[in-house]
Symmetry: C2
Subunit: 597 residues, 2 copies
């Protein structure tokens, strides 16, 4: 019996003892974070699936795990033999987890989950399903977590305070803008538990989640006070002095529960039901009327200010140079010295580590050779990695956390001969990436209006990539940051974010052919205002990323005149903006690979 | 004092007597129709504005009329001197009518409107605003209508019954599909008041609204019965016999009120709050729980069946031939005989009248010369029209109601020399229209994903057209038919319709330069399935419209290679599909104007 099967057996025994018909696990921490500290990886412990986004439903006879298209290939592999069935989100005929539960929940049944590790919006959905069947919800117990022997500790690292020359806006000013929005929504208090939002508001950074410079924390803001909850072990004298100066009262992380139960609320509490846990929601709901809206800080944070943009542009140039150097190193050494997925990742990680202002990686470098690159979030490990041969392609998706900002970039490199089909796919991915970056649009558009610009060249080949085209990127914060992004799918009632000047978003179409090859080209682009005339405010983008697109993989017969123009203009800019960081053979090579097609 | 100012004065006197602080008028009939019979043109009577879409709010000192971008130029002209202020919907800083009312409604105020002429969804919004201010709503009186001397009669025309070889699906089958959806929504009854939906369900057609083959009617459907309410004066023996056969009980139109008040409802009533009037809503609401969803028939009707598509394709070929003949006539006669906007419209109207299966126009032909074409919904009248000169362009937007379907097509013709700028604009409009028609996409896309394909060539010039790119089209029904369409604007919570095989939608980008010129090129395109593979169901379109795009206005320097390919492929198809309808000089000309660029 596999260890996962053994764990599920124990869980079922515990469920039986507690009277649970179903047990639900999301992949969340207490803050609905996308990436979580090891302490919170309960769902991973009970499935063996290491991807970030999944839901697990367990009954006495069934165990079903939902995940999205980015992870289908990986999940199939990791779930094999575990007894956990894969549910492919978004595929025709596959019910969502709530649809499934609705159809399979029996009259008077009992659903258990850890209310702190499940978002309020999911809790609400379950509440409704269970109520319709006269059943009950038990959410004040971490039944699965209790069974986890050797569960890691909660992370704890000292936080750092950022100065105004790094942030461009001080905390009192940010708080005053948030209070204006609270007023607008008719709220007298605001509960905030999204870690990156709290970091942005307070101008501090933590290290509690790998690659995400956040500290586990909660915040409660009223019209004249602000409260920050943070593990005592993370406090520093600098922090206390700073928070005192900006009028934020500091409490231990574990004091939140008591605080929420005791606090007197007059008026409504603003929070985002998609971004607070169900347990906190229920506590607050028992005290006051709630207004659920996107956290005001989420949009404010997405719109980078002048200081941030100036620094980001510098960070992206230096970061792009690392990628270019990786490309040069790969091309010159393949077939001569052994290159593996791991050594390529180490090479670029080292380049970043030696770059000004580097703090840590913004996510573990993805380095996938050949068919491995078809797994969007493939991760080579010392136990399992491929050796690169002088043929086919290596995909490297990587980025850094710098004091000047967060980067994210993907290039796919030819290591030797590739098929004509690969060149077709690569050329169309490049065409799509550049077409989106070149998109002109009227203010009011969201990513859903524009996604097709990147995707059309692939849709014309009857090929799709099973993910959005791009995500917002933080400023020395999470590499995936809402609310903006490029996605095409429609779902009734899902909120979209109008594209605003100052937003930075990744633009990363790809082709993923299972068992054959994977291509992704990713730039981060900055949304900017264009002409304003009687027809409205026109908008466009500029590139932040400046590193060559491998011309060995481009074939002019698959590019339109306009595509070729765009490649040439982009490469010209790459050379102009980065050539000063190269010399000798590297510079000569850069000149060659950025010359017009 | 203008007659409008006089009428407003009388209205204000009447409002004062009744104690109304505000009086609201939409442009609706009792069925939320887009176009209405003259009887319902109360808002037009009190503003002088002849466009279809407008809201009027009147207080003792203010009169504000909201309309959308299609009508800004026309509204400015028609409202001049009336004392009615134009509110431009969708423009930055312009509140919506509900936002305005919210900000300006005083505590305890009274809002009056005719509940039968206002949609339930607007009534609901007003309800909320008024309740927040402790005010009251009076909606059971047509206060404005009462003041209208010489108000026209309600229209009344005998209805016609369509045979199955025309409809492709009989009424019992349609009703059974609707009942399945009622079950799905947990409803035991369905109230339907959208005229085109009722026509589609019952397979009858009327003539109560000009160009819209509908009869004023309501329908009430239960799991085993169906009731149709139709003016007695419109009944025929054929209708009674037919309805008897398909198990629909027939009542007079005016019996609805009593019926709704008396009917016993066990269970929920399905209706569409956006498509029933507020008065009916409130009556039903007092009797039963309501489920508000899009009417099931709306989506069913939009997906044309095989019979409808076969007949539509034939109708579009014959209708396109009329447009081609107009083009020939214009080119051969301009500068030789007098051509006016009116005579051009009459010419094509006559061609349609002589076409097989013609019933009536699908809307009054729009024929705009020179700057007039910049008004999207310009209408030349015997009192005011332009004479065409052998220079500039004539825009003709026209269509027919045929027993084989409803058509809608726009072509813009050069009548002589035009500026380089005009050629640039025309070339980009043509490029956008063809790019959208050539769009490939994955099932699940809505018009919002695709709109940019038509608009991008213009957005790249910092030009926008202030309307959607296209609308669904009926089958021998309304020329504007929901739920599908191509539009880009995002509004939270607005429902979109996934594009389904069998939907027919107009594709009509344009350029409108006030005081200078107007260009619109409109084809109707049919949504079709493409390849289905592991990535999903791919989709595309095919043209239904086959009439030349004026090559005198196309300049290759403004077209990409791909654009030129698309123009040539389209013109080749125009010649292949329609040449058999031409002979002699006309045929020779067709060959020339459809030759490759």
């Amino acid at each position: 019996m596999s260890s996962v099967a053994e764990r599920l057996k124990n869980l079922r025994a515990s469920m039986k003892a507690a009277g649970a018909d179903w047990y639900f696990m999301s992949s969340d921490d207490y803050h609905c974070s996308e990436y979580v500290a090891d302490y919170f990886k309960v769902r991973e412990h009970f499935t063996g699936f290491t991807g970030e986004n999944a839901f697990l439903l367990v009954s006495d006879s069934e165990a079903k795990m939902w995940t999205d298209g980015r992870f289908f290939i990986q999940a199939e592999r990791e779930l094999a033999g575990s007894g956990v069935e894969l549910m492919r989100m978004g595929e025709a005929g596959v019910p969502t987890v709530t649809e499934f539960l609705k159809d399979n929940f029996k009259e008077g049944g009992k659903l258990f989950f850890d209310g702190k590790s499940v978002s309020a919006s999911y809790g609400r959905k379950f509440e409704k399903i269970v109520a319709e069947k006269g059943g009950s919800l038990v959410f004040d117990r971490d039944l699965a977590g209790e069974l986890w022997e050797d569960r890691p500790d909660l992370p704890s690292h000292k936080v750092m305070v950022l100065t105004d020359d790094i942030t461009g806006e001080d905390t009192p000013h940010k708080l005053s803008r948030i209070r204006e929005k609270m007023k607008e929504f008719g709220a007298s208090a605001h509960f905030l538990s999204s870690l990156d939002d709290i970091m942005w508001v307070t101008n501090i950074r933590g290290r509690d989640i790998e690659c995400n410079p956040v500290a586990l924390s909660y915040m409660y803001i009223t019209m004249d006070e602000a409260f920050l909850f943070l593990q005592k072990s993370e406090w520093t004298d600098e922090l206390k002095e700073y928070l005192n100066k900006v009028n934020i009262r500091l409490f231990d992380y574990f004091e939140l529960d008591g605080f929420l139960k005791d606090v007197a609320v007059s008026g409504k509490v603003l929070l985002n039901e998609d971004a607070v846990n169900y347990y906190c929601l229920k506590t607050l709901e028992s005290k006051a009327a709630l207004v659920s809206k996107r956290n005001p800080s989420t949009l404010m944070k997405a719109i980078k200010n002048e200081t941030e943009l100036k620094r980001l542009k510098e960070a992206y140039i230096l970061d792009s140079v690392c990628v270019t150097k990786l490309g040069y190193w790969l091309k010159k050494n393949i077939g001569k010295t052994e290159i593996t997925e791991l050594s390529a990742a180490e090479y670029i990680d080292d380049l970043r580590r030696n770059t000004e202002g580097f703090v840590e990686l913004s996510f573990p470098t993805i380095s996938g050779y050949g068919p491995n690159a078809a797994m969007m979030h493939y991760s080579a490990t010392p136990e399992s990695y491929s050796v690169c041969k002088p043929e086919g392609m290596l995909l490297v998706d990587s980025g850094g956390q710098y004091l000047k900002g967060t980067t994210d970039v993907t290039r796919t490199f030819a290591l030797g001969p590739v098929s004509d089909e690969v060149k077709l796919h690569f050329s169309k991915v490049a065409a799509g990436m550049l077409a989106l970056a070149d998109g002109k649009f009227l203010y009011g558009c969201t990513g859903r209006n524009l996604d097709i610009l990147a995707r059309l060249p692939l849709w014309e080949l009857n090929i799709d990539y099973k993910c959005g085209t791009g995500h917002g990127v933080g400023y020395f914060l999470n590499v995936h940051e809402g609310p903006c992004g490029f996605r095409w799918k429609y779902a009734e009632g899902v909120k979209e974010a109008v594209l605003e000047e100052g937003m930075i978003i990744s633009d990363e179409p790809g082709v993923y052919i299972e068992g054959s090859h994977g291509i992704r080209i990713e730039n981060v682009i900055l949304c900017k205002k264009g002409v304003n005339n009687g027809d409205g405010q026109f908008m466009g983008f500029e590139h932040l990323t400046y590193t060559p697109i491998d011309r060995d993989l481009l074939d002019k017969k698959y590019l339109s005149e306009k595509d070729i123009e765009r490649v040439n203009a982009y490469h010209k800019a790459v050379f102009e903006k980065t050539s000063k960081y190269f010399e000798g053979d590297e510079l000569k090579w850069l000149e060659e690979v950025t010359a017009p097609l």
